[in-house]
Symmetry: C2
């Protein structure tokens, strides 16, 4: 324990020192480093794949599900995608040093609000080894040092990727310790990490509900949660029903295992008799299991009755739970009670109803006549994504380079003192 | 305990429900409520003063220091200032509903990033009873419900102010529960509060180091810390020494008990022999106690030797600790190691040295040729201040109405689905 603690602290101190240097490295150097990381990944594909195969063998031995084994499996193609992603980040605008606002005070002081890196970012994640290089790249471009802690099921892959991408950083004036990785699987290491508020500025957990909860409950460092997505579609009485069917199908079926897919549909009572049978038909065609409130069950006979817990649950699967509501009011309060503040949509031709919904639904992203599936850094045009925040503090919704920055005030004077 | 827990939870649920309503109340209603609160304070001055006298009697009985008794003492004038402050907040621009950015995607989606209230803000504070109405006013104007928890030494004053300012809220469509106050002094109530991450969105602690530490270490809710100010003045070799003396005196002496006063002075070795004796003379005139590093002691004989702990300490008193440094590099790394990321200043005529200092010192506010005493919401032109954040997440430096807001994305479509 003592030795582990010392190791983790040394790692974090190294990252902290590196963050001070990295904050002042030029865009050219950072982009050079990102290209260097990308070509190192390509050059060392064989090594990474052989280390990855150790994780796969272990995963099969311990009986991990097929879906999980697939998630942690790397291929030549996936490694090429990781490299492409680093090059793509290099092509994005440097978010550091932007003058966000500038003004002059009556006493002549000039105040500039300028974007700066946050400092040291701790990222705790599960499964997919590509997160290692993706997060390292985004943190580096935004001038932040990072401390990575992946899941034990991908430790060999993560260590290999980490080794490969950090090796050449020195050439670009960036200390290797700017991309740090906790190289033990002992959970105690995470406990130690989460207490170091003097060395780490923010923690971003990426993974299942259990991980997020554990991190939030044990961290002394500010956490930006990337929690579950219990997303809703509300089909209003004034909806274009063809459009509603399209959006419903897209939001539920196109990729059901992601956080911006819908899990619940609320339908206005006046159109339920017309809309629900059509909806059930197309959803059934795609193999979607339906559950419903008592009113829904009167129209869609034979489907499962929704339990109270259903309204809170993120299925990440081909399941949709349906509720008939009296109107936008009930839809809004249902979403604010049971939703996860992620993404919710209304389909309606009525502008006033839409405005109320967009204003009163307390979620990161609210949609009028569009699919919730667009909640995504790339779809929003940010060019990248480190996650989707369901918190309200600092960053909300898709997070990319800008959201990995803080700001400082630079005040320029000519001898001003306060009277 | 069980009953207390139930009471606190009910209070928080009330605040949460109120926050949903308050988020959609018009600017006119909010400003009307603020004016109403102000005149209620004036109308009930007698009642507030008589409740305040109970706190004063108790404070004298328990032997609180004179300075502390003064802090909690209200007068007619102070109550008028509280009322004026509420009117001033009413005159500020509503920070809610501002379109921060708007763009169109190639698929026709229009994305608007819009400022919204954070939701429910918990404020835990000490001593000054005016914080009760100040915070209530700022939260109300920014559309947030608040839960106030003042110190036990001002419980009677706080309850009186709270009663007076919330009574008329209903007239303006604002539920009284939008300004909630925990009315027991039992610390267990704070423990309960800090666990309710589903009901409270952010905690702002205002007070001494002990309070801030307790809150940060026990909260499951995001905390924006308003920690200590260990502020530095660095007098460079290229400084205008007259200006340096002015700024030093202002930053140290004008109001030593506040967080933006300097506690340390770093002096370039090349000018130390010339500058320090002059500095010591004017500081001595104002009764400032000096402490110094070994090099300083060679010039200013007879002053106290600084201990390692001195470099970390916020004196909030007429004490200044001086270190002679080899140059800007040493000054920057000293500040980044020992400072509290609050406010630090350089005096120099050398633009390049200034630029490096402003860029590399990792503090909320960095000054060139001006006093650190300007770190303040009013001095920055924000028209208000709820505190000064020493954190990097969400808000940094002076916090006012804008910093009490989050944002959401409103996405307008015409049937778009993701392919």
């Amino acid at each position: 324990m003592k030795r582990l603690e010392k190791n983790v602290l040394n790692l974090l101190k190294g990252a902290k020192d590196a963050s001070m240097k990295l904050a002042n490295v030029s865009t050219k150097q950072k982009d050079g480093a990102l290209f260097g990381m990308a070509s190192a990944l390509l050059k060392n594909t064989g090594y990474i794949l052989s280390e990855n195969s150790k994780d796969i063998i272990l995963a099969n031995k311990t009986g991990l599900s097929k879906a999980l084994v697939d998630r942690l499996t790397l291929t030549e193609k996936r490694i090429k995608e990781m490299a492409d992603s680093l090059k793509q980040v290099a092509s994005l605008k440097d978010p550091v040093g932007k003058i966000l606002r500038q003004w002059k005070r009556p006493n002549g002081l000039i105040i500039k609000k300028v974007s700066v890196p946050i400092g040291v970012i701790g990222i705790i994640y599960e499964s997919r080894p590509n997160v290692t290089s993706d997060c390292a790249g985004l943190c580096l471009k935004s001038g932040n040092a990072c401390v990575l802690r992946g899941g034990s099921e991908t430790i060999n892959s993560n260590l290999a990727i980490h080794k490969v991408i950090t090796k050449g950083l020195g050439k670009f004036g960036i200390p290797e310790s700017a991309v740090a990785m906790i190289n033990v699987t002992d959970r105690v290491a995470v406990e130690i990490l989460l207490k170091q508020a003097n060395l780490v500025d923010v923690i971003i957990p990426r993974g299942g509900e259990g991980l997020i909860r554990y991190v939030s409950e044990n961290s002394l460092i500010p956490v930006i949660k990337h929690y579950k997505g219990v997303c809703h579609l509300y089909v209003d009485k004034d909806a274009d029903l063809e459009m509603a069917l399209d959006i419903m199908l897209n939001a539920k079926v196109q990729r059901p295992g992601v956080c911006n897919a819908i899990e619940k549909m609320l339908v206005h009572k006046d159109i339920a008799r017309k809309f629900l049978p059509q909806a059930a038909r197309v959803l059934d065609d795609k193999g979607v299991e339906l559950r419903g409130c008592p009113e829904t069950l009167k129209i869609l006979r034979g489907i499962k009755k929704a339990k109270e817990l259903d309204w809170y649950e993120e299925y990440l699967d081909l399941i949709l739970t349906i509720k008939i509501v009296k109107g936008a009011d009930e839809a809004i309060s249902h979403i604010n009670k049971y939703g996860s503040r992620h993404s919710d949509a209304i389909v309606t031709k009525n502008k006033l109803t839409a405005e109320r919904f967009l204003k009163e639904v307390d979620s990161a992203c609210v949609y009028h006549n569009a699919s919730t599936r667009f909640t995504d850094g790339y779809q929003f045009g940010m060019g990248a994504e480190i996650g989707i925040s369901t918190d309200k503090i600092h960053a909300r919704g898709p997070m990319a380079l800008e959201e990995l920055c803080a700001y400082k005030y630079i005040v320029l004077g000519s001898g001003q003192t306060r009277s």
